[in-house]
Structure formats: structure tokens, C-alpha cells
């Protein structure tokens, strides 16, 4: 498979090159340092998959994706970005990218991602997949935490952040009894039995860091 790589940082290009060099079926056919070079190079060399940095000098990521997709509809564009998926991934996919990877995950996932998109598939990381699935689920019905009152939500957040009833009571100027009552109601509304379950839910739904 012929791969075009583009990144404005030499260290990253070198890393990508080395990473791909080990793979028998992959061949780096060109390297670009900015958006314009990608456009020029894409005309000159034969390629099947373009691995692009999202933020390069010159053309921005979205424009570049659109342009390549328009000119070469059959070929795949894979985005490699410094930014976490929740910010730009959906936009990039909508613009026509076949996949979105953060640079941190590149060593583990890049090669399989290239193979997947070269075959016409789409590639999203498990994290992004889970997030998209959650969004679908949330769209079908109200997510559980939306059934909580504002005060209950806050108490839930504090429990999920690992605070004790006493700490919560102190911080919110409430009596420990009141906090316990809130907690009972939260667990009932959310159909859960323990703080641990609550924590797990909050992390999965990105309600806490």
C-alpha cells in the first residue's frame, strides 16, 4: 500500500517513517510539510492512503480533507492529530476523512488503521466509538443523569469525584443527613446500588475528569 505522510514536524515525520518502514505491505511514497505540499505531492506520486496532521501551516485540516476527497474520491484520508478526539474527530469524519487518530495512539493503532481505511473502511478508535455509541443511546432517551435535579446532579458529581458524605456536607453547607437523603434518591433514580457504580457511570459519560 502506498502511503503519503504529512506533518510539519520533522520528529513526527521521522517517527511515522520508522513506524511504517517495518511493515512489509506499507510503503511511504512521499512526505509533505504543509497543506500546499500535500496538494502538489498528491498529483505527482501514486498513493492510496494519506496520513495528515490536522494542524499544519497553510490550509487547515478540514479544507485539505475536502479537497483530497473531491479530487481522489476512491482514496483514503486518515487524520493524525495532537488534539483529543472529542474536539475535532466528528468534524473531520463529516468532511470525508476515513479515520481520526490522536498522535498518542499512533504507535499502537496507526498501522492497523491504515490497512483498514485502505480497504475502503472507516477507522475510529475504541474511545471514539464508545462515545458515538453513547450519543446514539442518549438520543433515544434522556440519559439517566438528566433525570436528576440540579442539586442532586451536584451531589452525584461530588460522589463520583470521590468525596465523602461529610466533605460534601461541609462544602455545600448542608447537613450530612440531607446529603445522605440526596444520595439515596440519586441511586434510586439512576437505578444503581453503589458509589462505585455511580463513579463508573460518570466517567463513561465524561461527567468527571
Amino acid at each position: 500500500m502506498k502511503v503519503l505522510i504529512a506533518d510539519d514536524h520533522p520528529v513526527v515525520r521521522q517517527g511515522l517513517r520508522q513506524m511504517l518502514a517495518v511493515e512489509q505491505d506499507l510503503q511511504v511514497v512521499g512526505e509533505a510539510r504543509n497543506g500546499q505540499e500535500v496538494v502538489d505531492l498528491s498529483r505527482k506520486v501514486p498513493w492510496e492512503v494519506a496520513v495528515l496532521d490536522y494542524n499544519m501551516p497553510g490550509k487547515n485540516g478540514l479544507e485539505l480533507i475536502k479537497e483530497l476527497r473531491q479530487r481522489y474520491p476512491g482514496r483514503a484520508v486518515l487524520i493524525l492529530s495532537m488534539y483529543p478526539e472529542d474536539r475535532y474527530a466528528v468534524r473531520a469524519l463529516k468532511a470525508g476523512a476515513s479515520g481520526y487518530l490522536t498522535k498518542e495512539s499512533a504507535p499502537d493503532e496507526l498501522v492497523s488503521a491504515i490497512r483498514k481505511v485502505a480497504g475502503g473502511g472507516r477507522y475510529v478508535t475504541p474511545t471514539l466509538g464508545e462515545k458515538l455509541a453513547l450519543e446514539l443511546e442518549d438520543n433515544r432517551g434522556k440519559p439517566l443523569h438528566e433525570t436528576l435535579s440540579d442539586r442532586e446532579y451536584q451531589v452525584m458529581w461530588m460522589i463520583a469525584s470521590g468525596k465523602t458524605v461529610r466533605q460534601i456536607a461541609d462544602e455545600l453547607f448542608l447537613s450530612p443527613n440531607t446529603v445522605s437523603t440526596h444520595r439515596t434518591r440519586i441511586l434510586r433514580k439512576m437505578n444503581m446500588k453503589s458509589n462505585a457504580e455511580l463513579m463508573h457511570y460518570a466517567i463513561a459519560h465524561h461527567l468527571v475528569d
Partner: protein
């Protein structure tokens, strides 16, 4: 509105980047010590001449009018330190003239000294005060009395002008500091994120390459922990860069950045945020930055003082203005805290908005939360962008 426009024509508006050079240039200009203008209104040429002679020694700029009508024309075009007004004139008399002068926005507070020739006219003194006279003098005037009275008003006028100028300079300096700080933050955020972040990424790839060649479990364990360390460094870098200046603001615009900030805030504090935002629109970057920074300050205040469980955020875009309203359900800001010494943050928001001709209004009801409303007038994207770019250029290159 009209006073503001004449008082400080250059203080506001988008030219926030260049003020320092201008302020310095003005302070150094020798012509900066201005003379006050004094208007003398009298229908008798002889009397006009005598008054002029008398006041010449004050060294100020004297202007004369032979009638009320003439005086009004001059008042429209000049700011006078004091007006000497003859009561008895054919046509419009002194009282009528004074009334008209007071009716004009520009001269509403200009001191007027009435001059009268006859003792019985003293009876109408009260009428004079009613239309805004600040003093009365009998003709023939005693030179020393007239001179010292006029001198007091000249001094007052000069002091006010100096105060205004220094207020203006401070405001421009503050604007300059804000824009410099923003530029610096943007620059540092980019440097950290792009340079340091990319190096870490490269490093991570190298470690990955190494790991693939190792077989010994103890060594693989090492590369694994190195890789984790690098990951957490990348996250720290990202956090620092975003804290300095969220890249969303530059890439995706104000609306997306506000939505993101609200989500982050909810995640960080457990205070629920509801947002009602206008569809994403391209706005002038400086206006976007201003609104975003004000928004951050509002949220900081909510987290620190409000003890709220909920924040409602509404951002509306109309043709000519942007309106951001943030309401919390906390304890409500007290009146004295709005003006207290601790309210510098609030003052900062107001000053930021004022730079773009906007305003911030804060209302609190004890026990029922606080509402902060920000309005900023908008220009069309094309003009605004051009002006902003010009400002940045000027700020960088001393012209």
C-alpha cells in the same frame, strides 16, 4: 451619548493595540498644554473691547460674540471654560441665551457669569440663577474681581481636562495591556503545544519502535512506563496550552468555544450548565476573545462565590449586536460587592466590553442568584476583520 463622544473620541473603539505609542506621543508633544477658551458676549463694541483688554493678561484664548445668536453658534463649535454674558441685549437677551446654551448637550455644564449694568437688574438675579448662571457681576466691573473669578473657572476647566486626559490614557494603557497579554498567551500556547507537544509525539513513536524490537519482559516494562509518562506529559502540555488560550477559539470560533468551556466547567465543578447558543458564525477574533474572556471570568465568579447548582448560558446574535447572558441560581451578589474593593474582576469585565463599545450589567437578588448580561455591538465580519488585523500590526510595529 453625545457627551461621551465629544469627551473621549479616541479612547474607545477597536484601535486597542496602538494606544501606548499615541499616549506617549501626546504626553511628549509640547503643544499639549492647551489654553482655555473664554467667550465674551456683549452687544456694545466698547464693552467687548474693554473686557477683552482686561482678560488678556490671563493668557487664555478669548472669543467674542455681539449677540445671543452669535454666541450660540460659537458654543456649538467650542468648549468654553466660562462664558461672560451681558444680560441686556437687543434680540435674544442674556436669559434666553443662557437657557439655550444650557439646552445644548455640549454646553450644558459650561459656567456662565452674567454681566449687568443696572442695580435694579439685580432683582432678576434669581431668574439668572434659574437659567444656570453661576455668578453675577455689576458693570462697570472691578477688574480684579472679574479677573480672579474668571481665573477660577479657567483653573477648574484645566484641571478637568487634565483629569479626563489621564483617564483616557489609563484606559488606553489598560486596553493595550489586555491585547498584549492576549497576544503573548496565544504565542506561548502555540509554542508549548506545537513544539513541545510534537517532540513528545516523536519521542513516543521512537519508544514504540524500540519496544517492537525488544523481547525481554523487564525492558518491555520500561518502554511501557516510558510511553505512559510521555502520554501524561502530552496531556499536561495540552492542558497548559488550552488554559492559556483555548485553540478552539481560533479554529472553531466563539460559539464552539463557549459550548466547550461550559462543558468543561460542569465537568470541573459539578455545577450543571444549560446552554442556548446561536448557530456557529464567524465573528471578529478580537470580539470573540473579549466575550470569551468575560465569559470565563463570569464562570470563575460563579464557582468562587455563588454556591450555585445551576448556570444558564444564553448567547444570541443579532444583525448588529451580540448578547451573552449568564444566570446562576446561587446566593446572589450583594449590592456592596458590586462596587467594593474586591470587585476588580467585575471592573475588568466592564472595561473589556467598553473597548468594543459594549457593556456588562450585573444584577443580583440575595438568595435568588446573579445575572450577568454582556452586550457588544457587532460590525460586519469583513470590516471587523480588517480593523483587527490593522490593530495587531500597529501594536507590533511602532509607527
Amino acid at each position: 451619548m453625545a457627551t461621551r463622544a465629544t469627551d473621549a473620541p479616541s479612547a474607545l473603539g477597536p484601535a486597542a493595540g496602538e494606544p501606548l505609542q499615541r499616549a506617549i506621543a501626546e504626553a511628549e508633544a509640547p503643544g499639549e498644554v492647551p489654553r482655555a477658551k473664554i467667550l465674551i458676549v456683549d452687544d456694545e463694541p466698547k464693552s467687548l473691547y474693554a473686557l477683552q483688554e482686561l482678560l488678556a493678561s490671563l493668557g487664555q484664548e478669548l472669543m467674542v460674540a455681539a449677540s445671543g445668536e452669535e454666541a450660540l453658534k460659537l458654543v456649538l463649535r467650542h468648549d468654553f471654560a466660562v462664558i461672560l454674558l451681558d444680560v441686556r441685549m437687543p434680540g435674544m437677551d442674556g436669559f434666553e441665551t443662557a437657557k439655550m446654551i444650557r439646552g445644548r448637550e455640549r454646553s450644558r455644564r459650561t459656567p456662565i457669569i452674567f454681566l449687568t449694568a443696572q442695580a435694579d437688574e439685580m432683582n432678576s438675579m434669581f431668574r439668572g440663577y434659574a437659567v444656570g448662571a453661576v455668578d453675577y457681576l455689576m458693570k462697570p466691573v472691578v477688574p480684579e474681581v472679574l479677573k480672579s473669578k474668571v481665573a477660577v473657572f479657567v483653573e477648574l476647566f484645566m484641571a478637568t481636562a487634565r483629569l479626563r486626559a489621564s483617564e483616557d490614557k489609563l484606559r488606553r494603557l489598560a486596553a493595550h495591556l489586555i491585547s498584549v497579554r492576549e497576544e503573548e498567551r496565544t504565542h506561548i500556547a502555540r509554542e508549548i503545544h506545537d513544539e513541545l507537544g510534537q517532540v513528545l509525539t516523536g519521542l513516543k513513536m521512537e519508544v514504540g519502535w524500540l519496544a517492537r524490537r525488544l523481547k525481554e519482559p523487564a525492558l518491555l516494562e520500561k518502554t511501557e512506563s516510558m510511553s505512559k509518562l510521555i502520554d501524561s506529559s502530552v496531556q499536561t502540555v495540552r492542558k497548559i496550552a488550552t488554559g492559556l488560550r483555548p485553540e478552539m477559539l481560533d479554529d472553531m470560533g466563539l460559539i464552539a468555544a463557549v459550548a466547550w468551556q461550559a462543558k468543561e466547567f460542569q465537568k470541573r465543578t459539578g455545577i450543571r450548565c444549560r446552554t442556548k447558543l446561536a448557530p456557529e458564525t464567524k465573528l471578529d477574533l478580537e470580539v470573540s476573545t473579549t466575550v470569551f474572556r468575560i465569559f470565563q471570568e463570569i464562570l470563575t465568579n460563579v464557582a468562587r462565590h455563588a454556591r450555585a447548582t445551576r448556570v444558564d448560558i444564553e448567547l444570541e446574535l443579532a444583525e448588529d449586536q451580540l448578547r451573552l447572558e449568564v444566570t446562576d441560581n446561587g446566593v446572589g451578589i450583594a449590592e456592596e460587592d458590586l462596587h467594593g474593593r474586591k470587585s476588580l474582576g467585575l471592573l475588568g469585565m466592564q472595561e473589556r466590553a467598553l473597548l468594543f463599545g459594549g457593556e456588562v450589567s450585573i444584577t443580583g437578588t440575595p438568595g435568588h442568584g446573579t445575572r450577568v448580561a454582556v452586550t457588544i455591538p457587532l460590525r460586519r465580519a469583513g470590516e471587523a476583520g480588517g480593523a483587527a488585523a490593522a490593530t495587531v500590526r500597529k501594536a507590533n510595529a511602532p509607527s
